[in-house]
């Protein structure tokens, strides 16, 4: 398969998928299927950002219907799955570091201000979820 995306960006996209699904087995299946489905379309896009935006949209769509395998996920992925889907997609998208904030807001179909508010809520919820999972608070680690 000819995927016109660098391995580094594929790794970042995989991290995005894992944070969306919260499950490594489901993430791999979603990632595989999305790449397979989008490969012919991606070649037709003019630039790298558009290809990544297209694949992120497909990954998000597929992750919504992914079934968890039941495997024990990493703490960060476990905390992410407790977030509402919109919060999860926004923060996972930001942390994937693939697109500028403006381009990410376009993928999420939000304005920059809306994305800022969503990210604020996502960060607060993620911090709470990490604490509930037994991770030390930020103040404890500083």
């Amino acid at each position: 398969m000819d995927l016109p995306i660098t391995t580094e960006d594929l790794t970042r996209l995989y991290r995005f998928t894992l944070l969306l699904t919260g499950d490594e087995v489901a993430a791999q299946q979603v990632f595989h299927d999305a790449c397979l489905e989008s490969a012919p379309r991606l070649a037709g896009y003019r630039n790298e950002d558009d290809r990544i935006a297209c694949l992120m949209g497909i990954l998000r769509q597929k992750a919504r219907t992914a079934t968890p395998s039941g495997c024990e996920p990493r703490a960060i992925a476990r905390a992410f799955v407790t977030l509402p889907e919109e919060d999860r997609a926004a923060l996972a998208g930001l942390y994937s570091g693939l697109l500028s904030a403006r381009a990410l807001a376009d993928v999420l179909k939000m304005s920059l201000d809306q994305m800022g508010r969503t990210l604020k809520s996502a960060r607060q919820r993620l911090e709470r979820a990490m604490l509930e999972l037994g991770e030390p608070s930020l103040e404890q680690t500083l």
Binding site: M1, L10, Y14, Y45, T65, I76, L94, S100, D106, L112
Partner: protein, 251 residues
């Protein structure tokens, strides 16, 4: 910029990531450096992000999965149970159709904002791209701007027009086709898989201010059209309106 706005925009920033590329976020970061309260909140946000990123960066793409993707090995022969059921082509088509209906409202609003006389006719011209195999074109390996004589000599078509900035692109093929019995020149450009169109504005009811670009999308395609006197030029490629704006800005 108000403090509340700054605080919200700061949320779009992440250390080491390209968020600061946006000028509004860059301004918010600078404003936060001058405000003691925002500075403290921002420092805390950065510390949290760094901790989360450190955990996320430990996740690597499994090599077996990468190898499988590059080899093009499909795993579509598994039984369609559970999640796989939703991945079946028929179900995917239904889900896509449902998603399309939901997205249609937003798209139609966006398109209404970018409407112009004759746009429906022009959209049908853009849609010609989807039915093309490339075999319809006559191979033409020369600058797109030099095809004027060829269109006139071969088809008697006098309305071929390209803005100066697009004349140097090398063509791969060209043809004249009829849309509603009216002639349209079409040129394939290998550079970024662009397709140029040129036609007489009045033939398709197009009325635009002279030399002013109008960008619109149609499915995967984005198009930018401009009228110059009696002729129209349109450039299309698969991509976003942002990519089209970048292309036009570079001209």
């Amino acid at each position: 910029m108000k403090g509340a706005d700054t605080g919200i925009l700061l949320q779009c920033h992440c250390p080491g990531l390209p968020g600061t590329e946006d000028p509004r976020i860059g301004k918010a970061v600078k404003a936060a450096e001058k405000d003691q309260q925002l500075q403290a909140e921002f420092a805390r946000q950065r510390a949290l992000d760094e901790r989360h990123l450190a955990a996320i960066e430990q996740v690597m793409l499994p090599q077996a999965l990468l190898a499988q993707l590059l080899a093009g090995h499909a795993t579509r022969n598994r039984k369609p149970t559970g999640k796989a059921f939703f991945l079946q082509p028929v179900v995917v088509v239904i889900l896509i159709a449902a998603g399309t209906l939901v997205g249609w409202g937003g798209v139609s609003l966006w398109n209404r904002l970018h409407a112009f006389p004759g746009k429906d006719n022009v959209l049908r011209i853009v849609e010609v791209n989807d039915d093309m195999t490339g075999m319809e074109m006559e191979p033409k390996k020369e600058a797109a701007g030099a095809l004027n004589d060829w269109f006139f000599d071969k088809y008697g078509f006098e309305d071929y027009y390209l803005p100066a900035a697009f004349q140097k692109y090398q063509a791969a093929g060209a043809r004249l086709f009829k849309q509603d019995e009216l002639p349209v020149a079409q040129v394939a450009i290998p550079d970024h898989n662009m397709v140029f169109f040129s036609f007489k504005a009045a033939d398709f009811g197009v009325t635009l201010p002279n030399d002013e670009w109008h960008i619109f999308t149609d499915g995967d395609w984005v198009a930018a059209i401009q009228q110059h006197d009696e002729e129209c030029f349109m450039v299309t490629f698969r991509g976003s309106s942002g990519a089209m704006q970048d292309l036009l800005k570079a001209k």
